[in-house]
């Protein structure tokens, strides 16, 4: 870059001084709240007393189940995503773009909302069970969903199908249709065209999708805790249990270390595969290969796929808000007479501080807390993200090293971050402001990644032109930079806001009982018995869904064209 090459002494020194000033805040923050906790976890787990045979057995057994459920989830996600990718890449049909957008929504939703959605649909008090109980006069819910491995798997498929769709659909529509035609003319029937030509060519993107899905399933926490129940412990859940219930920080640290090693390994594998899949499919023009159904088999495939996808992706998200305004339970003590009807009770109940409540405050206080935390996280992550993004926008040698370091917190799971805070700042955790610090850590990579391309696109020459026309530095910044930066800033703020609102993993370890956030409140309501608690969980989750949707819309509307996604 120019400033480095035109290196007379004083210029050079001032360049490094400016660069140093940009990096000072973000790096100190990461050092204090990411690397220091990380070192503490290492120190805890590599203690001789921690590395006992019993502890290692726990770690190994937990790792075994974690890998097992992640592998199973990945295969199922592939089974759902591959036909969906074919559907979107190959065919035109009415409602295509709407369905495409719908499949992408779950990925952005907080885990507690997804868990609450499936609970509203298939849980013991969900629509399906209530309907079956009523129509067949059953006294107990016939569908056992919540608390099974199946629930975990279904929720994971719900979350990650969009990854398979995006990666494979992109590769598939980039594939030259003539390759398949050549194979057909050489005597290959449709299955052999897929097996011999298309699937081998999709190997890299398929592998990349599988690795990414596996990574997300491997570090999944909220879904397992809320839908799997106590009998299923992945590394994440076990860390949470060891740290909070058993107060066994060394074992929790050991598990966190195992978790980190695996996550880093898979991230490296994914990055390599993703690069390879991009090289293979990039050079094709984006001419569309999509067409209408031509044969009866194709028509059946499209109809079936659209039906399954829309049911799978719409029903849970529809069941949730509807359940939050419906009273469908028998009143206490009266098992036969079911009072059914619309109600706003669950919402108004949120504002009342009951004496036997599980909180010490009215539940709606959780929403106030969440919004305060989200606001603080937005401000903090922007304050830290701006200088970092400004430095990365004009990268030098230093930035090549610092860039991956800045993204590193993404690789660590939220629960591990929370654990790091506990082992490092245990005494300070009485202060509620530790929570937005953790949220900032999670949001920072996204904020930087959103700001950086905008700052890099700032037209240097326009600014010079403005200066030559007599504008002061501030005026030219106001006229040229601000309009571009404003969009990116709002979008980054949307990311930080949405992430903070839905954050469950770190918060569940760090929050004080008297300062619940919305996700924590939903979790507590769901783990309590009774129709009123259930209803309030639904109301709270609907609220969170609405707030998150606002955040997502803000990000989507302001997204710069061509900004990277995964």
């Amino acid at each position: 870059m120019a400033p480095e090459q035109s290196g007379a002494g004083p210029h050079r020194a001032s360049f490094w001084l400016r660069r140093g000033a940009l990096w000072l805040l973000p790096l100190s923050f990461l050092a204090a709240f990411f690397f220091l906790p990380f070192i503490r976890i290492l120190a805890f787990s590599l203690d001789a007393a921690t590395l006992s045979a019993a502890n290692l057995r726990v770690a190994l057994a937990t790792l075994g189940f974690t890998v097992y459920q992640a592998a199973l989830s990945t295969l199922l996600t592939l089974a759902m995503g591959l036909p969906a990718a074919v559907l979107f890449a190959r065919f035109r049909f009415p409602g295509r773009s709407l369905l495409h957008a719908l499949t992408a929504v779950p990925f952005m939703l907080p885990t507690v909302v997804v868990a609450a959605g499936f609970n509203a649909l298939l849980g013991p008090r969900g629509w399906a069970n209530l309907a079956l109980m009523r129509s067949f006069g059953l006294s107990s819910p016939p569908i056992a969903f919540v608390g099974t491995l199946g629930a975990i798997l279904v929720a994971h498929v719900f979350y990650n199908t969009t990854i398979v769709i995006r990666l494979v659909e992109g590769a598939l529509s980039g594939l030259d249709p003539k390759l398949a035609q050549a194979a057909r003319s050489l005597g290959a029937d449709a299955p052999r065209v897929w097996w011999r030509v298309i699937l081998p060519l999709l190997r890299a993107p398929l592998l990349a999708a599988m690795l990414l899905v596996f990574l997300f399933d491997f570090t999944s926490f909220g879904v397992i805790l809320l839908l799997g129940g106590p009998s299923f412990a992945t590394l994440e859940v076990q860390i949470y249990i060891e740290a909070l219930s058993l107060l066994n920080l060394p074992v929790a640290s050991l598990l966190a270390l195992v978790q980190l090693l695996f996550t880093i390994g898979f991230s490296v594998l994914y990055t390599r595969t993703a690069v390879r899949s991009r090289i293979q499919t990039a050079p094709r023009a984006a001419q569309s290969n999509r067409r209408r159904a031509a044969t009866r088999v194709e028509w059946l495939f499209i109809a079936g796929a659209v039906l399954v996808l829309s049911a799978f992706f719409v029903l849970p998200m529809l069941a949730l808000p509807l359940r939050s305004i419906s009273r469908l339970d028998a009143d206490r003590g009266d098992r036969t007479a079911v009072q059914a009807g619309l109600t706003t009770d669950y919402y108004s109940e949120l504002f009342i501080n009951r004496r036997n409540s599980i909180f010490y405050v009215p539940p709606i206080q959780a929403a106030a807390n969440s919004l305060t935390y989200a606001g603080a996280s937005v401000l903090l992550s922007l304050a830290l993200g701006f200088p970092a993004a400004a430095a990365l926008a004009k990268p030098g040698r230093l930035e090549k090293i610092l860039d991956p370091i800045l993204i590193l917190p993404l690789g660590a799971s939220a629960v591990t971050l929370g654990l790091g805070f506990i082992v490092t700042f245990g005494r300070w955790l009485v202060h509620p402001w530790m929570v937005p610090l953790a949220h900032t850590l999670v949001a920072l990579p996204f904020v930087v990644r959103t700001l950086q391309p905008a700052l890099a696109s700032l037209p240097e020459r326009l600014r010079q032109a403005a200066a030559s026309l007599g504008a002061s530095p501030f005026r030219s910044w106001q006229a040229v930079d601000w309009p571009i930066v404003r969009r990116a800033t709002l979008s980054a703020a949307g990311f930080a806001f949405t992430i903070s609102l839905g954050e469950f993993g770190a918060t569940s370890l760090l929050t004080r009982p008297e300062y619940p956030t919305i996700p924590i409140a939903i979790y507590r309501f769901l783990s309590q018995p009774g129709g009123a608690n259930y209803g309030q969980a639904m109301a709270m989750a609907t609220l969170l869904m609405a707030l998150t949707t606002i955040g997502i819309l803000m990000i989507e509307r302001l997204r710069l064209p061509g900004a990277a996604e995964f």
Binding site: D176, K178, L179, Q181, A182, A183, R184, S185, L186, G187, A188, D189, R192, R196, V197, P200, L201, R203, Q280, A294
Partner: protein
Amino acid sequence: MLELSRIHKSFDDQPLLRGVSFAVHRNETVCLLGPSGSGKSTLLQIIAGLESPESGTVSWQGKDLRNTPAHLRDFGLVFQDYALFPHLGVFENVAFGPRMKGWQTDEIKRGVMEVLQLVDLAGFERRAVTDLSGGEQQRVALARALAPRPRLLMFDEPLGALDRTLRDDLILQLRLILTRTRIPSLYVTHDQEEAFRVADRILLLHDGRIVRSGTPREVWESPDSAWAAQFLGLGNILDGRVLKGGRRVQTRDGTFEFKCAHRHRSGDDIRLLLRPTPVVGGSQLVGVAEEIIFQQDKYRVLLSGGLYFDLNAPPKIGDRVRVRVRLECLGVVRSP
């Protein structure tokens, strides 16, 4: 052997093919020539069974192929951008067809070696197709199509992506191979030079119909329509009106005597072809040289009216030039 009868096909409600009929006979290379977007490639796809026509039939030795899927038609296809399987090496690309046909391993090996020899690529078996040059890739594509010994070969603009010298070499090689293997073939291109060199018979596709069919010489000598003459680049096209007596025609470049097989009446508006090569005893035409282009063995002289002629000795720009040309009638535009 291959017979097409009244093929119709539209795209986005725009008719593309409007009743195409023709046949390809034993040991014959037929070249389908037409401008880009005239539906040539679509026609190949229909024959290959990769697209279906709205109406009309494709048949092979009298058997309707309507219910024969693409992979059972046994028609080889060679594409412009080769469409080689990038995940397979040269040998596996060529062996793909024989494998699909279920040949024995040693049969496959022998067959692959044989066709690779035929296209001059012996020794390339283990190379990756992505490492080959364009010409080599196209020869692998040809070998791949030849390997399963198809009953018909189809070429979709096979040389369009190659540079001129390579093209000339490959055309020669292709003709040799087609003659040697005696596989009937259908060759699609928009390049008239290529078509004239490759084909035993040329079909001109225009506006969704075959407008002219014949040997290269026949088509060259009498294009039969102004569109064909223009598309084939045969020479100047000139409008004129037949004068009284029917033996003379008046154009903006002068009045000429002409002879023609068509029957004309005086007052008819007709279209004329003036080939660029002067002839002895033709009608005389006078013009001012405006531009001169060197063309190896002759000079193309552009006259101020827009007509051009190929002369052996170049005039100077601004000179008055006299040429004797033959006027060929391409048809009547309008009768009074």
